[in-house]
């Protein structure tokens, strides 16, 4: 029943679709960071208006399916003539740009939430010590808080990045011929769903494997640079108190 030669012969065409998936993936991750980092900082600012706006943004994107967000952007904005006649129309008409904007904004919301969690989990004592040393607010943020927050947030961000890789498949719904779109096209040509979808699944698995191992390596590296030894790598989610206890890490990364 499982035609192995068909499975093998579908692989070259699936591999040819991998660059499109990877391009989308990279663009979404970058867009997510570009949106997520400032959003996280705005969300933690003392301005009530800013933190409420961030709360609304995160809530709206976390509370609705990514598919709705994508269709809303891709189909929704073309409804209005003034948008069709504006300079943004060439961007909104392009499915790739639309997918990157919609999924990037989606990722930005999750990324901001993860970073806010990491930043608020930085032990107060370390920040107070830095203030006592007379460091400026920007220095405290970039040299003291950010490295520790990144270490705390990295496992959750690794998961978010893998979800981004998987979310690229949604782009197939707006006519982009990435891996999922290509495999669906191949199935309609060959009527062999098992062979082709399984082959596509294996290609995705290889990609997620590489991404998750890259992050494991990053976790070890970041842990070393912030004065925390490799214990972090065993448990995917480091226990909060284990992280909070490491008061000594303040000195290690200042050097």
């Amino acid at each position: 029943m499982f035609d192995f030669s068909l499975f093998l012969s579908s692989l070259p065409r699936l591999f040819a679709a991998v660059p499109a998936t990877l391009e989308l993936f990279a663009a979404i991750v970058i867009a997510g960071l570009l949106v997520g980092v400032p959003t996280a900082l705005a969300g933690l600012s003392s301005s009530r208006l800013m933190s409420n706006a961030v709360k609304f943004y995160i809530g709206a994107f976390r509370g609705t399916p990514a598919l709705v967000q994508l269709f809303f952007l891709y189909y929704g904005f073309g409804q209005f003539a003034f948008i069709r006649h504006s300079i943004v129309w060439p961007l909104l008409r392009d499915p790739f740009t639309c997918a990157v904007i919609a999924l990037g904004l989606n990722s930005g919301a999750y990324t901001a939430r993860i970073l806010m969690g990491g930043l608020t989990a930085v032990p107060k004592g370390i920040v107070e010590a830095a203030e006592a040393l007379g460091l400026g607010r920007l220095t405290i943020l970039t040299r003291i808080k950010a490295p520790i927050a990144v270490r705390i947030a990295l496992p959750a961000y690794a998961n978010e990045t893998i979800l981004n890789l998987k979310a690229t498949s949604l782009a197939s719904t707006v006519t982009i011929m990435e891996l999922t779109g290509t495999s669906k096209l191949l199935v309609s040509e060959t009527y062999a769903p098992y062979e082709i979808f399984v082959a596509a699944g294996l290609v995705y698995l290889a990609m997620t494997f590489i991404v998750s191992h890259t992050f494991r390596f990053l976790e070890v590296t970041v842990a070393r640079h912030t004065g925390k030894d490799s214990g972090v790598t065993k448990t995917r989610k480091p226990k909060q108190h284990a992280v909070l206890k490491s008061e000594d890490s303040g000195g290690a990364h200042a050097s």
Binding site: P65, T180, V187
Partner: protein, 225 residues
Amino acid sequence: MSSFTLNGYGELILLGALTTLLVALAAAAFGTVIGVLMAAAKLSQSRILRQIAGAYTTTIRGVPDLLVIFLVYYGGSATLSHVMGRPIEINAFGAGALSLGFVFGAYATEIFRGAILEVPRGQVEAAAALGLSGTDSFAHVIAPQAWRLAVPAFGNQLTVLLKETALVSLVGLEDLMRRTGFAVEATNRPFFFYLVAGVVYFVLSYAMTNAFGSVRRKTSAALAR
């Protein structure tokens, strides 16, 4: 035609929301059963069972949900057509519940496994010292405590599942997403109707999150000493 009225599509959309809830419920029920079984397999003495469960969770979590849905739907249709000797398309609701159940099950496996491992060893030893059998110890000592630990992550995953159901519209399930698509086609007002769909999804997921907040309060109150 005003651009901000439902034009009689309100009912259609609500009906779609009901389908969305039902498919999420079916997938959650199926996925929870898989999750319990696979968590048990992951924690078992048998190496083969552990490997099967490990392969299952790794595969599902490394592959887009949309691909799983396509595999189940088009694969199921192909198999059934082959068996019956004529072209048949399988039921989108069944395919959706099955595939999203598989996906939900993989995440539930990890949640249950983690929760069971977090129950203090002393509790298990105390149950054994009291002479409770393995099943009794699990049912009366481990499971109630593990459940309490699992509730927050489980509730979170349910909300994720609810949003994932939108993907089943792509194989023809007439859920909230697809019925919104019908309204868009008929009225040519995608901005308004996809916004409405977003609001309905938001309300559903918000309600689900809050419902789980109260479950969490109840379960922790019942076990607090």
